[in-house]
């Protein structure tokens, strides 16, 4: 336990020293929200979005941006770099379990995502009067399961990528898919129905996030699928993971 605490402390320090990445990861969604919110028409209630403003409607999609950056981009890159540079291998010669390093990385990824989510929700509420998530429990469930599914996919990439470069090569297409179906590139109302529907089932499950935010209970099937993806991808990652 002492070792895990020390690893977590050390990794947290390393995380905090990389200021540009940190600001980008945690602050970018909120920054985009603010920029969009400066355009008056996007703040007007719109029948297209059940009488909500575009800014309110788009906020959950922005959350997907953080999830994708942390889960399928930052996490695998850090771990693949550690593998490429022999940091994992060296750790394997000590009594510390390299699994403790993985656990520490997951904790930090979760903290980054939660910080980013809270910041986004608060700014949306205070600056643009968007409601906070209407179903806090359902929203928490959707966020936790969606995050778990994405982090598990990130671990799967980290498991098989021998170098940071190859991790990027695997992560970028995955990142694009997550962002596309999450409605970050194009707002989801512009996507054909079947594509928007697919987005409900691809991690992190933006439909469930949207439902819980706007007050509908998230669909159990959507949550269930995130749970299944999380379990399956982590099992795959655990099976394929190499320390060197």
């Amino acid at each position: 336990m002492h070792a895990f605490g020390q690893i977590l402390k050390t990794e947290a320090k390393l995380y905090l020293r990389d200021i540009p990445t940190l600001v980008l990861t945690i602050g970018l969604p909120t920054l985009i929200l603010v920029v969009l919110g400066l355009i008056p028409t996007l703040r007007q209630p719109d029948p297209n979005f059940d009488g909500q403003s575009f800014v309110t409607y788009f906020t959950p999609s922005l959350l997907v941006l953080t999830l994708a950056m942390v889960g399928v981009n930052a996490l695998p890159t850090v771990l693949a770099t550690y593998r490429e540079r022999g940091i994992l291998r060296r750790l394997a010669t000590t009594p510390a379990s390299p699994a403790a390093l993985l656990a520490a990385q997951l904790v930090l990824a979760l903290v980054a995502i939660l910080t980013s989510a809270v910041l986004l929700a608060l700014v949306a509420r205070l600056a643009f009067g968007s409601p906070l998530p209407q179903r806090p429990l359902g929203f928490a469930a959707a966020l936790v399961l969606g995050t778990a599914a994405l982090l598990a996919l990130g671990l799967l990439v980290a498991a098989v990528a021998p170098t940071a470069k190859s991790a990027q090569a695997l992560a970028v297409p995955l990142f694009m898919v997550v962002m596309f179906f999450g409605g970050v590139y194009l707002p989801r109302f512009l996507l054909p129905d079947f594509l928007a529907e697919i987005g409900a089932y691809t991690p992190p499950g933006v439909q469930a996030l949207l439902d819980a935010w706007t007050g509908t209970a998230p669909h159990p099937l959507h949550l269930g699928i995130m749970a299944v993806i999380a379990v399956a991808a982590s099992a795959g990652a655990a099976k394929l993971f190499r320390w060197e």
């Binding site: 690893i7 390393l14 540079r85 940091i87 009594p95």
Partner: protein
């Protein structure tokens, strides 16, 4: 009492045999060298000893334990410095040592270790700002921070400048003097000759010789040659009567004595007893390099 016993170790990667048949024992408190060319199977051998690889055949016992079955216990007792393993760029010297110290039940004091390794000025320096020699010393410190009984050091001084290399050698001798058994993997002849109490010479996955550096040299080239200019005329029989001397020849004013064993001591004693001063005295002897060529059929570093 051996602390490491390797018997008939065999390890292959697919079709490639990395280690064919390697056996040796390492005694407590010695510096044991594993010497050979790149690709001879040195690293694979010590990786099996460290429990990082599973042998395909043969046995390894470290402090009476099995490196695979008792991996958790052995990791507390064996410090390992690997080739080409780095640390995160932004990790600072003191942080790295405190992190690694937290893994062990009875660690050394990180602050003291930092001072002993001459990194006191660099304790708050990030890893990527350290010089090659400083990185190497930090890596050795990490191998020692758990207060190990055995330290396995792979290619300790590769990439270091001559001064940093000599400093590292002194450091290793001090570590040995503190009671740690050291297994040193190297392809530097000078390093092996300077540091190692005993050497296993590995060629194409096999041990071709196992002895002290001086013993290895003697085994392939037992003869030594002494040259000197006597201060007064010298009767050859004084020297040829000595059992250690095999031949005496002259080369101008110089006497050249060929012999074995402690021939140098025997010759100088006789000269002293006859009050002859040996001017320009030189001892010519085969080197470990010559022994290596003799035993493996090729030079070490080409």
């Amino acid at each position: 009492m051996p602390v490491i016993e390797v018997t008939n170790l065999h390890k292959r990667y697919g079709e490639t045999v990395a280690v064919d048949d390697v056996s040796f024992t390492v005694e407590a408190g010695e510096i044991f060298g594993v010497l050979g060319q790149n690709g001879a199977g040195k690293t694979t051998t010590v990786e099996c000893v460290a429990g990082l690889r599973v042998p395909d055949g043969g046995g390894v016992s470290v402090l009476g334990l099995d490196p695979r079955r008792d991996a958790n216990r052995l990791r507390q007792l064996v410090g390992v410095q690997l080739q080409e393993s780095q640390l995160p760029d932004r990790l600072r010297v003191a942080e790295a040592l405190e992190l690694y110290a937290s893994f062990y039940r009875d660690p050394a004091d990180p602050a003291r270790l930092i001072d002993e390794l001459g990194l006191g000025q660099k304790r708050n320096t990030p890893y990527d700002k350290l010089s090659g020699g400083q990185k190497q010393r930090l890596s050795i410190a990490l191998a020692l921070v758990g207060n190990p009984k055995i330290a396995i050091l792979d290619e300790l001084t590769t990439g270091l400048d001559p001064q940093a290399r000599r400093d590292t050698w002194s450091l290793i001798e001090r570590v040995r003097d503190s009671g740690v058994t050291i297994v040193l993997v190297t392809h530097f002849m000078e390093e092996a000759e300077r540091l190692c109490d005993r050497l296993a010479l590995i060629n194409q996955g096999r041990v071709v010789a196992l002895d002290s550096p001086a013993g290895l040299v003697t085994s392939v080239a037992p003869e030594q040659r002494i040259r000197f200019r006597p201060s007064t005329p010298l009767d050859d029989r004084l020297l040829t009567d000595l059992p250690q001397v095999t031949a005496v020849t002259r080369s101008g004013a110089q006497v050249v004595v060929t012999g074995t064993g402690d021939v140098l001591h025997a010759v100088t004693s006789v000269l002293a007893r006859n009050q002859i001063i040996a001017a320009e005295l030189r001892l010519e002897q085969a080197t470990l390099d010559d022994a290596f060529v003799e035993l493996t059929g090729h030079r070490l570093t080409d």
